[in-house]
Symmetry: C2
Subunit: 328 residues, 2 copies
């Protein structure tokens, strides 16, 4: 099956592309930025074939360019601008265009191409103001989007589900937790290099990381996100329209920095007394509660594979091998 | 103060325009369709001056045309496509553009023009699947938009409130109930002539109205909506970001048809045994619960003035005088 991954060079997309290729699927990536050459080289040895298109999801012609050469079986729509506040201010209109109208273009393509399933990558950010209950956030919690990113992601969910209803298109929404992982790089559309990535870079150069707070969250590793999305692609009949995708466990950036310190003796870290003195950005003023993943566990048998230690080992190994062969 | 009303020729907008003019405000209307000539004539005798622009809220040039000639003090953004299911299917992309990106253009204009307040006309439709509790729907009820209209209205709310936060713009959201009333006419962007309007037209020609069901709802009369919006414009510091706007009472289309029957002896009506045989369209498969208006009552002292009988008398008088002088 050929899978179209939009935003295939972004953090979620690239992990998904790797997973799909390694399982022997042909993959088409439609993305605003090209695949980094070091990723392209690494992917060349995998079983499936990768076809890359640089384009704009808002632009019908870019979708047509894909359709001319490929018979797309499913679409996973990851393409989005993930802005920080300054960019929300600066690029408000464009963020709405890319994240909402880009999704409508993706849905139109899915309908025209009669794809088997359309997966919409949403975000735990949609829970917004309601993301701080005691315990875990289940899918039934009322979304209260606050940032423009969250507003557009929630609008994308609603548009996708309504589109599915109107056109009998099989649509599934995945609300992703805080992703970090392999292949992470600055694409220009994601303002947010992950905190594990930021601290790893400081550790490698023997510096001091000043954390804004402890940072206890359900950090989820890219390969686990990719496995969850593939599971959502492959399940014959998903029972639900919306699934949380998280690691089902929490650890803190202090835990992460402890592992970094044992690996990089020159590295040190502390938690800032005053948040404004931090040199690591968690991209949120508070740490939201972990996503409840009972639904995807029970309906799909999905089980995350990367706990803190395993994710750390894999990530640091990936950093080393990538840094050796190229500039990240 | 000059108030810009977008969608000023639509059902909500036109009632608001009348109210503002009668209070001596200058009003600028930016609307996709021109004001009906019979409304224009009626408004000419009011205290304020009306300036009409036919334009597209998505188009920056149309906003600039307004800015060249007017110093806008406040904006009430009513412009939207109100589609039925067939149009949601046919015009999905355009509905998202007009209802969401049109709102972003309106917000950009509000910021550039330093307006005092921006009122976003949303809809009780945003409560969607959660609009059927026992009792009334308060603003704290979780929105669960289902139609594309509701998805775009909810996205517009979120975008407007976030924009206000980013740019320190005074934004208030009004969630309107099921509006009917004076000046109602087919603009081409609202698929839904109100049920009171449909039945009145049948009554005037002495026909038979077949209702799909009893139709017990919080039907709100246009002039009451207009008064609520003006109250939201005028209150110095609204306590809340979001206000329901409803009549605070329910009556049914059977009640309405009884009044029609006493006024038009040739008229008859019945409730259909089989909904599909109805010739009156309620535009929804179920009647949602009434909006709770405790918030706007308590914070603004707003009190609806039109109960069933008064709205009926006013509406039928308006129909008669308008039909006498022109073709509605």
């Amino acid at each position: 099956m050929t899978v179209l991954v939009t935003g295939g060079s972004g953090l979620v997309g690239i992990n998904l592309v790797e997973r799909l290729l390694s399982q022997g699927n042909d993959v088409v990536s439609l993305s605003a930025t090209p695949m980094p050459s070091w990723a392209e080289r690494a992917f060349a040895s995998l079983a499936g074939r990768l076809h890359m298109y640089t384009g704009d999801v808002r632009n019908l012609l870019d979708w047509d360019a894909v359709a001319k050469r490929h018979d797309i079986g499913s679409i996973v729509h990851c393409a989005a601008i993930t802005p920080k506040e300054q960019r929300e201010q600066r690029d408000f209109h464009r963020i709405v265009e890319v994240n909402v109208l880009g999704t409508v273009q993706a849905l139109d393509a899915a309908r025209r191409w009669h794809v088997r399933r359309f997966i919409y990558c949403s975000s735990g950010a949609v829970y917004g103001a309601n993301a701080f209950p005691v315990g875990e956030i289940a899918e039934a919690v009322c979304p209260r989007p606050q940032t423009l990113y969250a507003v557009t992601k929630h609008a994308g969910e609603g548009a996708a589900l309504r589109y599915g209803e109107l056109w009998n298109l099989d649509v599934v929404v995945a609300r992703l937790g805080t992703v970090f992982g392999r292949w992470e790089h600055d694409t220009g559309v994601r303002d947010m290099l992950s905190a594990p990535m930021q601290t790893a870079a400081i550790a490698e150069s023997g510096g001091l990381a000043v954390l804004p707070r402890e940072g206890l969250r359900d950090w989820i590793y890219g390969p686990d996100v990719a496995r969850a999305l593939v599971a959502l692609l492959e399940v014959p009949k998903p029972k639900w329209e919306v699934y949380n995708v998280g690691p089902g466990a929490v650890w803190s950036m202090v835990d992460w920095c402890e592992l970094l310190r044992s690996r990089f003796p020159e590295f040190s870290y502390r938690v800032a007394q005053d948040e404004s003195t931090a040199n690591v950005d968690f991209h949120a003023p508070r740490d939201r509660s972990p996503l409840c993943i009972a639904r995807i566990r029970e309906d799909l048998g999905f089980q995350p594979e990367y706990g803190l230690q395993r994710a750390f080992d894999d990530f640091i190994d990936w950093r080393r091998s990538t840094l050796e062969t190229s500039l990240v």
